[in-house]
């Protein structure tokens, strides 16, 4: 898959930089439908993002997406996935960082790198119940504060009890 990168010099350069810097630490990379997706580990997430932001110019966070893989995951895989969609001005290149996480684990907050992650992290906390350490005010954003469940988890009931 990665071979297709040949036609995208900018992304190729970024990918090679990442390879060089975090030789063995990257858990994998795919290139599908013109989109580069790099899988990272929870422990080196911040350093990868820092590297991308400071040395490769990915200065904006486009969005964060939470995924619940309860129905599709294989044995031994973690239940949730968080995607960080990054973006760069100028050059209009995008990259996606993928981190797997289990229910009881916490991710480091990236608020210090991208202020846009403030509400995005709150939304994921609200919808999936995943914690981000170091977030300035991790409270529910959509659901009322006294709400107990997490609506976007796959085991959230669609009809009343």
């Amino acid at each position: 898959m990665i071979e297709k990168l040949e036609n995208y010099p900018l992304l190729k350069q970024v990918y090679q930089n990442l390879e060089n810097r975090f030789a063995g630490a990257l858990l994998g990379a795919t290139f599908e439908k013109d989109e580069l997706c790099v899988t990272a580990d929870r422990s080196n997430l911040i350093s990868i993002l820092e590297f991308l932001k400071n040395d490769n110019g990915f200065n904006a966070l486009n969005d964060m997406v939470g995924l619940d893989n309860m129905n599709t995951k294989k044995e031994g895989e973690k239940r949730f996935t968080i995607l960080y969609l990054l973006y760069r001005f100028p050059g209009s290149a995008r990259i996606r960082i993928k981190v797997d996480i289990d229910e009881n684990e916490t991710l480091p907050s990236i608020y210090s790198l991208y202020r846009a992650s403030d509400w995005a992290e709150r939304e994921i906390y609200d919808m999936f119940g995943l914690n981000f350490s170091g977030h300035p005010g991790l409270t529910r954003i959509y659901m009322p504060d006294e709400f107990k469940d997490f609506p976007l988890r796959k085991d959230f009931p669609l009809e009343g009890k």
Binding site: E32, K33, E35, C37, N59, A60, L61, N62, D63, V65, G66, L67, D68, N71, T72, L83, L85, F89, P90, S92, R94, R96, Y114, R115, A116, D118, W119, M127, R140, I141, Y142, M143, P144, P151, L152, F156, L158
Partner: protein, 364 residues
Amino acid sequence: MAFKEILLNMGPQHPSTHGVLRLKVALDNEVVMKVTPVLGYLHRGMEKLFENRTYQQITPLTDRFDYLAAISNNLGYLLAVEKLMGIEVPKRAQYIRVIFTELQRLASHLAWVGFFANDIGAMSVLLYGFIEREDILEIFEEYSGARLTVHAFRVGGVPTDINDKIIDMINTFILKLPKRIADIETLLTGNRIWKHRTIGVGVISPEDAISLGLTGPSLRSTGIKWDIRKDIPYSSYQDFQFEVPTSANGDLYDRYVLRLEEIKQSMRIIRQALDTLPQGETLTKVPRVLKIAPGEVFHSIEAPKGELGFYIKSNGTDKPERVKMKSPSFINMQSLETMCLGNLFADIVAVLGSLDIVLGEIDK
């Protein structure tokens, strides 16, 4: 004997929070010390709903996000689905899509100018904007039968071709609009009170804007030339000639001038698209039941309010595993506090108006 800090609840029932938004405002006399938006009063769980609807059923639901620019939502979602499936949309359909999304951009911007001016107290402009928007809605009605939640496009193209009557309506509208824009400019652009209220208010620096993920006209007003129609063209936008207006100050006045300029550029695009409309099919063959092989995709378009993105993950069935919407209002709303701090109470309303938020999109 100092004035104590006042904690003020703006909303959820307040005339100018543009819907059911609540702002917790801390004021020192009239100076804003803190603004905390409280969301969720319009939360309908759309993303959960999408996971239990087929791909085609989702399209009309996207109308309900940004109800002032329903067609842009359709387009954003459909382009993501088409990219995920790997379908090519016929050229004529792409052009029709461009015409309607640009009309929708006009409608959204006209409504915005009206709301924004009304927030600052010029209430006539609201109706001037709306009377033109009415014509656009009539065109939509002629095309699809609906005015607000249009559901104009389908997976693989557009459901019906446009006929001569619609082209006539669009042409007359395009001829009429510049006069109304001139009216609005006479009322506002040179007005001293308007300038006092908007110049140097709600300023945001380019660095802050990028860090906060600001998109759309608000980002361009800080001097960053970023328009997805130009930078990552979709739906044949590369065929048309248009400018991406930018300005340097990042204040309310710039955002207002920018949007008026964008209206003019949109009219240019519509005119070009009508002149060079290619012949041919408007809908590719798509299976009745869409089953998309596992995969994931992110696609974003330049909606009137900013960058509108859809992340779709498919799992091989006819229903998506996950649809995540990157809504421009939600992202832009985060920068409210940065823009308001240290300004006066009345400026909160103006800044909020300038961000062009729609609560349907923020609360999803």
